[in-house]
């Protein structure tokens, strides 16, 4: 009978840039139980609704997380627009799709880089980030910010992409895709990645569904749930499939993301082709009154916003259930029974975004 030890994991950890804290109960190098706890990044920004009006809340929602900022901003705008029955111009809907797919690509490339780093493959990490920088240049040239996009507002978008620029952007994107194609081959075939990620962090299909996993974590277990399929914004006019893998382990999660990047490129091409002309925003008057649950698909999975307005310029309640928060339960299940050395890889495999989870 081996003795049990509790190892604190985090908040400052060389592998993970973010302060996640886990108490790992281990017995002979095997993790028996993982106990997460929050609070290092907790800001309580949901309470700011009382102090800021709903236009300002869009900026605050964007700063829930710097990686998924576009879709956070889009989510709150979408909810308020639904409550106020604002019909957003078609062009704005397509632009939102283009930008949110760009943010998905940059988030997934970021994750792939970190995953390669966790597997001890530093040159691959550098290549992923090199490609990502090219994309960030496009993002900056179109939105004005590198990571905080700041383009969504209630009633449309703040900026427009000129029709004359779109051709150039598509050419650059095709270059990036070609570059990425080489890297994706490494993720698919390389021995190091395979060896490190296969059969690690097992989450069965039944578990993934019942524990409420979302996003790539869920889809890697063979459940086809993708909120983009509900057809919000302009997604209903675009063709795509929810990508699934059946390997149910970290490698599957990696592969889902690898393939999703190609899908996102494809979605951008489609949206750019169909992009209608017209205005990008409409004037918003009045205040929201009513409630709505917005559900969008973030790079990390499904995100739920509950927005309740009471007819004043301040919202009554803004609640964001972020994908990482939903993935905590599955993570705890994945960690129990794994080797201590696999913990960083497993934690990374859900693409943890702690500032999202704690808000």
């Amino acid at each position: 009978m081996a003795s049990r030890t509790i190892i604190p994991f985090g908040p400052q950890h060389p592998v993970l840039p973010e302060p996640i804290h886990l108490d790992l109960v281990i017995e002979d190098e095997k993790v028996i139980e993982a106990v997460p706890s929050f609070g290092f990044v907790h800001r309580g920004l949901e309470l700011l609704v009382g102090k800021k009006d709903f236009h300002q809340m869009v900026y605050i929602a964007e700063r829930i997380c710097g990686i998924c900022s576009m879709i956070h901003g889009m989510g709150i705008c979408y909810g308020i627009e639904h409550i106020m029955k604002i019909d957003v111009p078609e062009r704005a809907k397509y632009l939102r799709v283009i930008w949110s797919e760009m943010s998905r690509i940059h988030s997934h490339l970021l994750w792939l880089g970190l995953a390669a780093d966790a597997a001890g493959y530093e040159s691959l990490f550098m290549h992923c980030w090199r490609i990502r920088e090219k994309l960030l240049e496009i993002i900056e040239a179109t939105t004005g910010g590198r990571v905080i996009f700041g383009v969504c507002k209630v009633g449309g978008t703040r900026r427009d992409i000129a029709n004359s620029d779109i051709h150039g952007i598509l050419i650059t994107l095709k270059d990036i895709e070609k570059d990425y194609q080489n890297i994706s081959k490494v993720f698919r075939d390389d021995y190091t990645i395979n060896h490190r990620f296969s059969n690690v962090g097992f989450l069965s299909k039944k578990d993934a569904f019942e524990l409420g996993a979302v996003g790539p974590t869920l889809r890697a277990s063979g459940v086809s749930v993708d909120m983009r399929k509900t057809g919000y914004s302009a997604y209903r006019h675009l063709e795509f499939e929810a990508l699934t893998e059946n390997s149910e382990d970290c490698y599957g999660r990696c592969m889902v993301r690898v393939r999703e990047i190609f899908q996102s490129f494809n979605l951008i091409y489609q949206a750019a082709e169909k992009l209608p002309n017209g205005p990008v925003d409409i004037k918003v008057t009045g205040n929201p009154e009513g409630e709505y649950f917005t559900r969008l698909e973030q790079p990390r999975g499904e995100v739920v916003y509950y927005i309740k307005g009471n007819g004043t310029q301040n919202l009554e309640r803004f609640r964001a259930r972020t994908p990482t928060f939903a993935n905590i339960g599955p993570l705890v299940r994945m960690l129990s029974g794994c080797d201590l050395a696999d913990v960083p890889v497993i934690v990374l495999s859900i693409d943890p975004c702690i500032s999202c989870a704690e808000r």
Binding site: Q12, P17, E18, P19, F40, I60, R63, I64, F125
Partner: protein, 139 residues
């Protein structure tokens, strides 16, 4: 690179930041900005580090962590606060759980503005830090 005589090693701690500045700090270390050409390495161990980079505001929980990291670093040491949150707390200073900028816990030497701070701004901040480090070494 005559103005860089030392190779400062940095330790990065994420306060309650939104990740925006974090990934920009990380982006500084990757090919496009590559601060490793100045000999700057991101290191996990506070004992090895000369520069503490903090992103994000301070809340009641991570105040003690930041203090610990700061006191574990050997002298001379410099603190670089990256981003608006680290300087003033951004709009999160109204939140119940946020104490304010980094200077509420430890002395800060250089502030880098930006939300999120651009990699160029961070490099500028690091260059400014180096001068300070040199002055502190002479003392």
């Amino acid at each position: 690179m005559s103005f860089l005589k030392k190779s400062p090693w940095i330790i990065h701690y994420d306060g309650s930041s939104c990740n925006g500045c974090d990934i920009e700090v990380l982006a500084c270390l990757t090919p496009m900005y590559d601060v490793e050409r100045f000999g700057i390495i991101n290191i996990g161990n506070p004992k090895h580090a000369d520069v503490l980079i903090i992103t994000g505001a301070v809340n009641s929980q991570n105040a003690s962590v930041i203090k610990t990291i700061y006191h574990q670093m050997g002298d001379p040491k410099v603190v670089l606060a990256v981003g608006i949150c680290a300087a003033s707390g951004n709009f999160f200073r109204d939140c119940y759980n946020i104490k304010g900028g980094v200077d509420t816990v430890i002395p800060v030497d250089i502030y880098v503005p930006g939300c999120a701070a651009r990699p160029e701004a961070i490099i500028d901040g690091v260059v400014a830090v180096l001068k300070l480090l040199e002055e502190k070494t002479k003392k």
